[in-house]
């Protein structure tokens, strides 16, 4: 392929990978810090996308929808943790898997009840609805670049919070030794609630950002969920940095795979995972 096409695919890979990173980072944090496997994480992505649709239809602006959606997602996450997930910490993985699987069914059906089963489009905000000219015939949508920029900013912010703030230090400590943190008088329950809500919000935000390009449709969370699992496996549970690297690997493998090997493109991601597993059963960048 020529350079411009190649550049387009690179940009697409980056954007796809970064969006996946948003979703996977929440998943790996919840796994690593709270030890909970949450199958409903994909539903948060779906909820975010549907929120974007509903709020954009109501307010006419995606930006406003996102601004409203994020706090809503945070509150929803905190409530969900308080009502349900806080009971799961002492349960074994099988029970967590089942309960969160049940949640997926509930969320999908509620979505069907409240918003219906139609596919919906979401409008790109006007100021981002343009293209950058790459060559005479090829251009690249500004909106997709904007998504990548937002994700990078969030990644940096996440790094900053986890590595440089007191909250982040408590999160990291809680990751390593829960009882020790409790002994130090830190309210581990509050930390868990914050982390969970953060994970929900990140996934929902990813859904909101993706809505204009992927459309909003039933079961959109399923595929993203499984890919997120693959990313967490490749990157190592609990490692946000690993999630970033793995998400980019997946983004590139999937995007270029679709172009170069279309018949097996659906499977490429899993093949990558299989190779990684042979080499390092605990993930490339498993912390500790």
């Amino acid at each position: 392929m020529d350079f411009a096409s190649f550049l387009i695919q690179v940009l697409n890979s980056l954007q796809y990978g970064l969006l996946l990173f948003l979703v996977a980072s929440g998943l790996t944090l919840v796994f690593g810090i709270m030890g909970i496997i949450n199958l409903a994480h994909g539903s948060f992505y779906m909820i975010g996308a549907y929120l974007a649709f509903v709020l954009t239809s109501a307010t006419g602006s995606l930006v406003l929808a996102i601004a409203l959606g994020i706090p809503l997602a945070l509150i929803f996450g905190a409530l969900l943790e308080w009502a349900l997930f806080s009971h799961l910490y002492k349960r074994d993985h099988l029970e967590q898997v089942l309960l969160t699987y049940g949640l997926i069914l509930i969320f999908e059906q509620l979505r069907s009840l409240l918003v219906g089963d139609d596919v919906h489009g979401v409008a790109i905000p006007a100021f981002l609805d343009a293209s950058i000219q790459l060559t005479e015939v090829m251009s690249y949508p500004v909106y997709r670049l904007a998504i990548s920029v937002v994700c990078i900013v969030l990644a940096v912010a996440l790094y900053y919070v986890i590595q440089r703030t007191r909250l982040g230090m408590m999160i990291r400590a809680g990751n390593d030794d829960r009882s020790m943190v409790e002994a130090l008088g830190i309210n581990i329950n509050m930390i868990y609630r914050v982390v969970f809500a953060l994970g929900v919000a990140l996934a929902a935000l990813a859904g909101m950002l993706a809505a204009p390009i992927s459309s909003v449709f039933p079961n959109m969370g399923s595929h993203v969920l499984i890919i997120s699992f693959v990313i967490v496996v490749i990157g190592g549970i609990g490692s946000v940095w690993g999630a970033l690297v793995a998400a980019l690997i997946v983004g590139f493998a999937d995007t270029f795979g679709k172009v170069l090997l279309p018949e097996i493109s659906g499977m490429i991601v899993y093949l990558v995972m299989a190779v990684v597993l042979l080499w390092r059963p605990e993930g490339i960048l498993k912390k500790g």
Partner: protein
């Protein structure tokens, strides 16, 4: 329940099931046949989850592979002999389980759950996207296999009655087989691995090999269920390998109570009954199903077979446990 009472209950249940075709209602005959093959599916997963402690979220892959083998072989070779097709289907699912097992059994805990899910997705894509599968529309099974051996025809699977009893006999055979395996030295090792894998290793057991064997065996038996499904319903789709199916069978196992073969059977029956019942009530039956699942996990961790014990304890005043 002491052993004899439990045995009597099981015999009565089998007798009751055997009487179902006499009702003459074709709908119920097919429904119960489905419950029976789902019971096989559930027992095969219980071997892994309830007895070895390996929580697989991709068990539907082996069900689907066997089901597709029926459809694809029949499409290519026409009606085949049961005595060739059934072993072939089992061998294929076992082979798939062996290969996938080599990858996934290297992992533990949460990783294991996720990678079994991911590999099942890979299998799903093979049947959904590649020419092998025939796409999302699925494949019809043009003819049921024949049971003929030479000129002797012991039974005819095109006869609904024979088909039903064939499924029932298969379920009983699988039950008895697993019951025996679990009492063997091999079965004891699996249970030891579930109880304390580290200790098993320090006692000199190479647990990887045992887990792989259990995984392969479970895949093979899941294939039996898939084979029966394809023959019974005559139609297979990639959705048979979806994670929804993997989740459903996992639910059956926990519904009945893990580590209990009869519980797995009970769980399968209960799940299918709930599915029928809820679907009758409302279009949004999955909402009810989801609610039941959540309630089940929160309030009834031992599953249905734990209920008699709980009632007994409650009647005794809930004192000593």
């Amino acid at each position: 329940m002491n052993v004899n009472a439990s045995l009597i209950v099981k015999l009565i249940a089998v007798a009751a099931i055997a009487c179902v075709p006499m009702s003459g209602e074709s709908f119920y005959v097919e429904l119960v046949a489905k419950m029976l093959l789902m019971a096989i599916f559930a027992m095969s997963l219980d071997l892994l989850v309830g007895f070895t402690g390996l929580v697989s979220f991709g068990h539907a892959a082996y069900f689907g592979i066997a089901a597709y083998s029926v459809a694809l072989f029949t499409a290519k070779f026409g009606q085949m002999s049961l005595w060739v097709m059934l072993p072939a289907a089992i061998l294929l699912s076992a082979a798939a389980a062996l290969v996938i097992g080599i990858f996934v059994i290297r992992t533990k805990g949460i990783y294991f759950i996720m990678v079994t899910l991911a590999f099942a997705q890979m299998a799903y894509f093979v049947f959904h996207d590649t020419p092998l599968g025939g796409g999302s529309d699925g494949v019809y099974v043009d003819a049921r296999p024949t049971a003929a051996i030479g000129s002797w025809v012991p039974f005819d699977l095109d006869n609904e009655l024979h088909m039903f009893y064939f499924v029932l006999v298969m379920m009983l055979l699988v039950y008895l087989f697993l019951h025996r395996v679990l009492q063997s030295p091999f079965g004891r090792v699996l249970m030891g691995i579930k109880s304390n894998e580290h200790r098993m290793q320090s006692l000199g057991y190479f647990t990887f090999g045992y887990k792989l064997a259990a995984f392969t065996l479970a895949g093979a038996l899941g294939g039996v269920a898939g084979f029966l499904y394809a023959v019974l319903f005559g139609f297979v789709t990639p959705e048979l390998l979806s994670w929804h199916e993997s989740g459903n069978v996992l639910l059956m196992v926990i519904l009945g109570g893990m580590g209990n073969l009869a519980g797995a059977v009970l769980g399968a029956f209960a799940f299918e009954a709930m599915r029928e019942f809820f679907a009758d009530i409302t279009k949004y039956w999955q909402l009810l199903m989801g609610g039941v699942i959540v309630a089940l996990v929160l309030f009834l961790p031992g599953g249905l077979t734990a209920i008699p014990g709980r009632i007994k304890r409650a009647l005794q005043g809930g004192g000593a446990k």
